[in-house]
Amino acid sequence: MKWVTWENVGVDRMACAWLIRKHIDPKATFLFVPKGTSELPKGAEPFDIPGVRLSHRRGHCSFHTMLDEYKLTDAVLRRIARIVDEADTVQVVTVEPAAAGLDFICDGLRLTSPDDATALERGGLVYDALYARLAADAKQGGSK
């Protein structure tokens, strides 16, 4: 299946693409359109674009919306959603110190990648790592 988002990917879109590949559509291919484009290619599911189904909702990031839409209840994914919320948008309450660092690293990945597709691939490594770290926490029953 084809998925489409705005070019110049960052923390939220890297998280979404990782989630799509891992839990929704292992054979996903990603298309990129310039920021601000409202005409989207037909036959591709748009994500993290204002106004589409898989977008920010009630102050939460698109990754968070995707968990809801695809009924993914894994506690570790939920924790990642909170981190991406804090990394991607201004939140009144901040409880995830990893958020700011994650945001910087994802921005940096885009800067060091030749194109958006590569940036998403590399971002996947970061989210694999984040998931593994948080899953290890969860196993120990701690939150640190």
Binding site: G10, K35, G36, P50, S55, G59, V92, A100
Partner: protein, 168 residues
């Protein structure tokens, strides 16, 4: 919805604003919005977000931020949220008609963040100071420091120095 044009977006890809950007050459984001009178929580919510982003209200009518890829993204999502709350919103990128206006706008942003920085410096002078809380406040202020205030550097140094003292 008014969205920025493509070439502009390209120009704003750099994450960190160059310190010595040509005077008056900063592009600005202007956001005008209206949300329903009720519930009041929606109005408070949007206002609080503006404050957190460090946006300034011009003539209590239009909210403004210097245009960077980050602020553009933040405003664009806020735009979507305002629509979600049943409001109306327009977002523009703009250049002031005169250099003076751009400079005075920049000064207003500098003053706004310097107030926060000065409060932290004052708190740091006190004996019973909470370094953890103050460093957190510094981080928050820093996220609204769009023009790299020198005072911000001073606060950072003061916090690090204070940490050094407390380790002795």
């Amino acid at each position: 919805m008014v969205t920025s044009n493509r070439s502009h977006t390209r120009d704003c890809v750099s994450i960190v604003k160059p310190k010595h950007a040509t005077e008056g050459a900063t592009a600005w984001l202007l956001l005008a919005y209206k949300v329903p009178r009720e519930p009041t929580s929606a109005r408070v919510y949007v206002w609080r977000k503006m404050k957190q982003l460090g946006a300034l209200a011009l003539q209590d009518a239009v909210w403004v931020l210097p245009a960077t890829s980050r602020t553009q993204e933040q405003f664009q999502w806020l735009e979507a949220e305002i629509v979600e709350l049943g409001g109306e919103v327009t977002l523009w990128t703009a250049q002031p008609a005169s250099e003076n206006q751009g400079q005075s706008l920049q000064q207003q942003f500098e003053q706004q963040v310097d107030v926060e920085y000065r409060e932290i410096l004052d708190q740091l002078k006190k004996k019973a100071r909470d370094l953890t809380a103050l460093s957190r406040r510094y981080q928050q202020a820093h996220s609204r420091d769009f023009f790299q205030s020198e005072l911000g550097q001073k606060v950072r140094q003061a916090l690090l120095a204070a940490e050094g003292e407390s380790k002795r």
